[in-house]
C-alpha cells in the first residue's frame, strides 16, 4: 500500500464544546481550579499517579512498622490491637489504593488513549469523577486512624463473622467499607471508560490486533473490572446491612452463611489479582520489546494468553477457600493449575522477546527483567498453593505471605519500570539513570531477601497475622533477614523520591528518547492537548518504529519495499 509512504497526516482539530478550535492555545482555568475542573485524561492520570504513589509510600511505612515489630519475637513497638490495624491497612492500602489505581487510573489513563491515537478518554467527565471517588475513598478509608476505635482491623479480606458489628464494632470498620464503596465505583467507571475508549476511539488503521500489548491488557483488565467489582460492591452493601440493619446474610444465628462472604469476596478477589497483574504484564512487555529493539515475540500468543488468563480467573476463586472444607477441591485445583499454562506462555514470550535482541540495560529494562524473575518465583509458588494437599499444609502461614509478596513485588518492579519508561513522556523530563539503577538493585535484592525467609518460615509453620512468635533462634534469624529485606526495599523507595527531586526538570527527554515502537512516542513530550498534531500511517503494531526505521518496516499488508521514504523530523 503506497499510503505507507505518505507523510504523516495533519490531524483535524478535535471538536470541543464551545472552545476555540486550536490545540496550542488552550485557555482555561489555572491553578487549583484547573485541577478541580479538568477533564483532560493526562492531568487526571497525573493526579492518579501522584496520589497512588503517595499511597505506596503510606502502605510502605505501615509495612516497615510491621517488620520492625517482627524483628524480635516479643516486639513491643506496637500493641497487638495496633498490629491488627497495621496489617489490615497495609494490605488494604496496597491492593485497593495503590496497585489497582496506579495501573488503571494512572498509567493506563494516560497511555491508552495515546497508544491508540485517541484525543482523550471516551467519557472525560466520568474519568474526572473516577478520580474524585478514588481520592475521597482513600481519605475515607485512611481516616479510620483518627477515630477513637482506630482503623479497620479485620484483615484486608474482612472475613465474616469477624467483620460483624459484635466482633468489630467501631467506625474504623465502617469507614473501611465506605472507602471501598467509593473506590469500587471509581474502578467500575474507569473500566467502562477504558472499554469504550478502546472500542470506539482508535485511529484509522489501528485494528484490534495492532494495539500495543499494554492496551490489550488494559482492555482485558477493564472487562475483568466490570465482571468483578460489582460483586464486591454488592458484598459490601450486604456486609453493611448485616452490621447496621439487622440482616443476617453472613451470620449463622440468623440463618445466614458466613462462608458466603468468602465466596463473594474471592469471586472479586481472584480476578482482582489479575486486574492488578495484567496491566503490569503489559508494561513489562512494552519495555522488554523496546529495550531489546525487537517487536514483541509472539504478539498474538501474548494476546490469547491474556484472554485465557482472564477467562480462567473467573473460575478459580475458591482456591483461597480450600481449607473451609466446603468447596469443590478438584474443580478449583484444576482451574488454578490451568492458569499456569498461559502464564508460562507469557514468560516464554518475554524471554523470546529478549532473545538475541540488542539489549539496552536501562533502568526501565532492569526493572522489567526483575519483574519477570520475581514474578516467575511467585507464579511457581502459586502452583504449589493450588494443590489442596499442599495448601492444607501452608494455608495461613508465611508461605502464602511470601507467595503473594513475590507476585506483588514483581508488580512494583514493573510499576517502577513503567515510571522510568513513560515518565519522560508525561513530564517531558528523564529521570537520573544512575540513581535509577541503584534503586533497581535495592528493590530487586531487597525483594528476594524479604520473601525467601518467609517461604522458609511458612514451611516451618509460622502463622501469618501474628505480632509475636515463639522464641526460636531459627525463626528469629529468618525474621531478621526478612526485616533486613524490607529495609532494602524501603531504601529503594527513598531513592526513587530522591531521584525525582534530583532530576526535577533537568534532563529534557525529547519526543522519543528510547527509540520506541508505539504511537505514544510519535507525539511530543508531554503530548499537547488532545494528544496529537498528526499521526503516522498505522500498518503494524509498532507504527512509530515503522516510521522511524523504514528499512525494518513490517511487510504485512503488502508494503512496497523499494520506494524510499522521505523522513520528516517529528516535531
Amino acid at each position: 500500500m503506497t499510503d505507507l509512504l505518505d507523510p504523516p497526516v495533519q490531524l483535524p482539530p478535535v471538536h470541543e464544546e464551545v472552545h476555540g478550535h486550536d490545540h496550542e492555545e488552550h485557555h482555561g482555568p489555572t491553578g487549583i481550579l484547573k485541577w478541580l475542573t479538568t477533564t483532560d485524561h493526562k492531568i487526571i492520570g497525573l493526579s492518579y499517579t501522584v496520589t497512588s504513589v503517595i499511597m505506596l509510600i503510606i502502605g510502605g511505612i505501615f509495612a516497615e512498622i510491621i517488620r520492625a515489630q517482627l524483628a524480635t519475637p516479643n516486639g513491643s513497638l506496637v500493641s497487638l490491637a495496633q498490629y491488627n490495624e497495621l496489617f489490615t491497612m497495609h494490605g488494604s492500602v496496597m491492593i485497593y489504593l495503590f496497585a489497582g489505581p496506579f495501573a488503571f487510573g494512572a498509567l493506563a489513563n494516560i497511555m491508552v488513549p495515546i497508544q491508540i491515537g485517541a484525543p482523550d478518554m471516551a467519557y472525560p467527565r466520568l474519568n474526572a469523577l473516577s478520580y474524585w471517588l478514588y481520592l475521597t475513598g482513600a481519605i475515607t478509608m485512611l481516616s479510620g486512624f483518627f477515630t477513637a476505635g482506630g482503623a479497620a482491623n479485620f484483615g484486608w479480606v474482612a472475613y465474616a463473622p469477624l467483620s460483624n458489628s459484635v466482633n468489630t464494632p467501631g467506625t474504623g470498620a465502617d469507614l473501611w467499607i465506605g472507602g471501598l464503596l467509593l473506590t469500587g465505583f471509581s474502578a467500575i467507571f474507569t473500566g467502562v471508560n477504558l472499554c469504550a475508549t478502546i472500542f470506539y476511539l482508535r485511529a484509522p488503521g489501528m485494528t484490534m490486533f495492532r494495539m500495543p500489548i499494554f492496551t490489550w491488557n488494559m482492555l482485558v483488565t477493564a472487562i475483568l473490572i466490570l465482571l468483578a467489582f460489582p460483586v464486591l460492591t454488592a458484598g459490601l452493601i450486604m456486609l453493611y446491612c448485616d452490621r447496621h440493619f439487622g440482616t443476617h446474610i453472613f451470620s449463622v444465628q440468623g440463618g445466614g452463611v458466613p462462608v458466603l462472604w468468602q465466596h463473594i469476596f474471592w469471586f472479586w478477589g481472584h480476578p482482582e489479582v489479575y486486574i492488578l497483574a495484567l496491566p503490569f504484564f503489559g508494561m513489562a512487555t512494552e519495555i522488554l520489546a523496546v529495550f531489546s529493539r525487537k517487536p514483541v515475540f509472539g504478539y498474538k500468543g501474548m494476546v490469547f494468553a491474556t484472554l485465557t488468563i482472564a477467562a480462567l480467573s473467573l473460575g478459580v476463586w475458591a482456591h483461597h477457600m480450600f481449607t473451609t472444607g466446603v468447596v469443590l477441591l478438584p474443580f478449583f485445583s484444576i482451574m488454578s493449575l490451568l492458569i499456569a499454562v498461559p502464564t508460562g506462555i507469557k514468560i516464554f514470550n518475554w524471554i523470546g522477546t529478549m532473545w538475541r535482541g540488542e539489549i539496552w540495560f536501562s533502568t526501565a529494562m532492569l526493572m522489567a527483567i526483575g519483574f519477570v524473575v520475581t514474578f516467575l518465583i511467585g507464579g511457581l509458588t502459586g502452583i504449589y498453593l493450588a494443590s489442596p494437599p499442599l495448601d492444607f499444609f501452608t494455608h495461613d502461614t508465611y508461605f502464602v505471605v511470601a507467595h503473594f509478596h513475590s507476585v506483588v513485588m514483581a508488580l512494583v518492579l514493573a510499576a517502577m519500570g513503567g515510571l522510568y519508561y513513560w515518565g519522560p513522556k508525561i513530564t517531558g523530563y528523564l529521570l537520573n539513570e544512575r540513581i535509577g539503577k541503584l534503586q533497581f538493585w535495592f528493590l530487586f535484592i531487597g525483594t528476594q531477601v524479604f520473601t525467601f525467609p518467609q517461604y522458609a518460615l511458612g514451611l516451618d509453620g509460622m502463622p501469618r497475622r501474628v505480632a509475636v512468635y515463639p522464641h526460636d533462634p531459627q525463626w528469629k534469624w529468618l525474621n531478621d533477614w526478612s526485616t533486613f529485606g524490607a529495609i532494602l526495599i524501603g531504601i529503594s523507595t527513598v531513592l526513587f523520591v530522591v531521584n525525582v527531586a534530583v532530576s526535577w526538570k533537568k534532563y529534557p527527554a525529547g519526543d522519543n528518547p528510547w527509540d520506541a515502537q508505539t504511537l505514544e512516542w510519535f507525539t511530543t513530550s508531554p503530548p499537547p492537548h488532545h494528544n496529537f498534531y498528526r499521526l503516522p500511517p498505522i500498518r503494524s503494531e509498532r507504527p512509530t518504529w515503522d516510521y522511524n526505521h523504514p528499512e525494518h518496516r513490517s511487510i504485512e499488508h503488502g508494503t512496497d519495499h523499494e520506494v524510499p521514504l522521505e523522513k520528516e523530523p517529528i516535531s
Binding site: V9, H15, E17, P119, Y131, W132, L307, L535, P536
Partner: protein
C-alpha cells in the same frame, strides 16, 4: 466491530460452559449465579456489537489499510473543563459519610448530588462552560 464482538461472545461462551460444569458438579449456588451473571455481562454487549458489526459500514479503525486522512473530520465531542464531576464526587463522599457518621450527612450529600446532576445535564445540553 467484529473483533470486539467476537471477543465478548467468546468470553461469555467460556463463562457459560464453566458455569454449567461448576453448577452441576458442585451444587453450590453462589458461584453458579455469579458465573451466570458473568456470562450475561459478556453476552449482552457482545451481541449488541455483533448486531452492529453486521449493520454498519466498517470503520476506519477496523480497516487494516485505512489512511489517516480517512479519520479526518468529526471524531467526537469532548467537554472542556467542568466542575460537575468534582461536585458529584463530593456529593458521593458525603453520602458515604452518612453511612458512617449519621443520617444528617445525607443533607449536603444529596444536595450536591442533585446539583451536580442538574448542572452536568444542563452543561451537556448547553455545550459546556468556557
Amino acid at each position: 466491530m467484529k473483533t470486539e464482538a467476537k471477543l465478548l461472545l467468546g468470553l461469555g461462551t467460556f463463562f457459560g460452559l464453566m458455569c454449567a460444569v461448576y453448577w452441576n458438579w458442585s451444587l453450590e449456588d453462589a458461584g453458579g449465579v455469579m458465573m451466570f451473571c458473568g456470562m450475561l455481562l459478556c453476552f449482552i454487549p457482545g451481541s449488541y456489537y455483533w448486531w452492529w458489526s453486521r449493520h454498519m459500514k466498517p470503520r476506519a479503525e477496523d480497516d487494516p489499510n485505512a489512511t489517516q486522512a480517512q479519520g479526518a473530520g468529526f471524531i467526537a465531542t469532548f467537554p472542556g473543563t467542568s466542575i460537575w464531576p468534582f461536585t458529584l464526587g463530593m456529593g458521593a463522599f458525603f453520602v458515604v459519610l452518612a453511612l458512617v457518621f449519621g443520617i444528617w450527612f445525607l443533607i449536603p450529600g444529596l444536595f450536591l448530588v442533585a446539583w451536580a446532576l442538574f448542572g452536568g445535564t444542563a452543561e451537556g445540553r448547553r455545550g459546556g462552560k468556557h
